[in-house]
Amino acid sequence: MKSVEMAKVLSIGFLNDSICDLKILCPKIAKEAKAGQFVEVYPDNGENLLSRPISICEIDKEVGSIRLVFQVVGKGTKLFSRLKVNDEIRVLGPCGNGYNLKGGKSVLVGGGIGVPPLIETCKQLEGEKIVVLGFRSGSFLVDEFEKLGAKVYVATDDGSVGFKGNVVELLKSENIVGDNIYSCGPKVMLKFLSMYAQEKNIDCQVSMEERMACGIGACVGCVVQIKDGDGWVYKKVCKDGPVFDSKEVCW
């Protein structure tokens, strides 16, 4: 069940120049939330009417809070980044399906702002965990994955941290395999990851994104092509996704 809540800011900070780290109190949403789901955050400034979909980075069911780590890209996210402790913000959620968490050896693959939802996913997964993160330059959240007991590999486009190249090149060079892949990142990364997973015969869940309006499946704005028999259908990222089986997606 989804709710709309006026969420109180518990803490706010920055992981680097453009990545904001926000913890908000929203007990109803936190109670229902699962790893890989997202929330819709409303700017409520009169100009930017549509809510911003932001993935859930961490869930604290005891406190009733969620943590959002997002990139400041436009007017909406800039506004959220200027919130102060005790400010309130309107949030709808939890939205989408989330990851289907399985056992065995897990490989978590994140690219850029696709990294944050893997924190909660990593927390909840049991067994051996390998985390492969890709960034353009620099990195964030790496130490948090390490604290969760995962073996972490980092790739950067400019070679400033770890392996110089992209995550799929890194997976290949280290020959990283497992029983399941959980991933989130840019579409092009997910596409090549999907090919890698197929080659190695690993089940791979990909979390997609697309421009959306309502976030709950009504407007039918945020569609992706999903295989259907010999053809395809448009499915909604916000309701049918954001997590899809990589083999279902028409890349």
Binding site: K2, E47, L49, A213, G217, A218, C219, V220, G221
Partner: protein, 300 residues
């Protein structure tokens, strides 16, 4: 206090309904609002066969509103009859089916399949700007409007509302053509065509380049058109276009609308429909309005 309104012989408990394409068939919003509180649910466009709609991106935000180029993606009338009518019938609200097609034949196919089905009213969509055939291309020419309405009316066993496009020089001419074709009521406005360009990527935001604009920013245009149409024809009008709350809705009623639809506001506030119902009741109590007919069309 009487909030009831009569639309083409069908009595609604209040004038508040949903604008087609913004509320699905009510399922998603039933988590946030009690559908029993709504005058009617106007469902997302239904075609004779499943439609894929347009490629993404389909959504762009603009100042005070949004653009969409969804293109009437829908699972088709058979799916609608099997799944959505039984769902909506669990609630005490009226069902208005928005009918879309690429051709007169496709429109009439849908309406024929809806014969004898447990729905209350039909809304003929000849105003969607996001399809290359049918939609708005039918709704911007008076002769075509009259012809489509005549043909659809022949197969309709429910009152027929015709949804008009604002993308015309004189909306009253289109309204008169629809009524002369046999429309029992009119609804307006559909979206205004619009465009947004991403100056950093140097390309349109929407994959289809042009889409339909909706949201609070279009409201004055919609109020003006509803006012003009209500003066020009003598059938019930359902007003919509940027309605976000009771104040907005009452403006449309004073302009002459019998019903009012909440569209884009649902995306901004999932409870916008019910809050509008409550707000209208509060206005009536506060200002001693016993029946909405006392304020309907009071603007000379």
């Amino acid at each position: 206090m009487n909030t009831k309104v009569n639309i083409c012989g069908v009595e609604l408990k209040n004038p508040v309904m949903t604008a087609s394409g913004t509320f699905g068939s009510g399922r998603e919003y039933s988590e946030f609002v009690d559908l029993n509180r709504l005058g009617a649910v106007v469902v997302k466009g239904v075609a004779d066969k499943p439609w894929n709609g347009n490629p993404a991106p389909r959504i762009a935000e603009v100042y005070g509103g949004m653009l969409n180029s969804v293109g009437l993606q829908n699972p088709g009338v058979d799916y609608f009859i099997e799944n959505d009518i039984p769902f909506l019938r669990q609630f005490d609200t009226k069902i208005i089916v928005n009918v879309c097609g690429h051709s007169i034949e496709e429109y009439t196919n849908v309406v024929k399949k809806l014969q004898g089905q447990d729905v209350d009213l039909l809304e003929l969509n000849i105003s969607c700007p996001n399809v290359s055939e049918g939609g708005m291309s039918f709704g911007t020419d008076t002769k075509m409007v009259e012809k489509v309405v005549q043909e659809v009316k022949k197969c309709a066993d429910k009152p027929l509302i015709v949804k008009l496009s604002p993308n015309v020089t004189d909306i009253t001419e289109i309204a008169k053509a629809a009524v002369s074709g046999g429309a029992d009521g009119l609804s307006l406005i559909n979206t205004l065509t619009g465009m947004k360009i991403d100056i950093y990527k140097r390309q349109p935001v929407l994959q289809r380049k042009i889409g339909g604009m909706s949201g609070p920013a279009v409201k004055p245009v919609a109020v003006r058109m509803v006012y003009q149409v209500c003066k020009a024809v003598d059938v019930p009008v359902i007003g919509m276009g940027g309605i976000s709350n009771a104040e907005d809705a009452i403006e449309f009623i004073m302009a002459g609308a019998t019903g009012v639809s909440i569209g884009t506001a649902n995306f901004i506030n999932p409870r916008a429909t019910v809050e509008t119902v409550e707000g209208i009741e509060e206005y009536m109590r506060k200002y001693g309005v016993k029946d909405l007919s006392e304020i309907r069309g009071i603007i000379e």
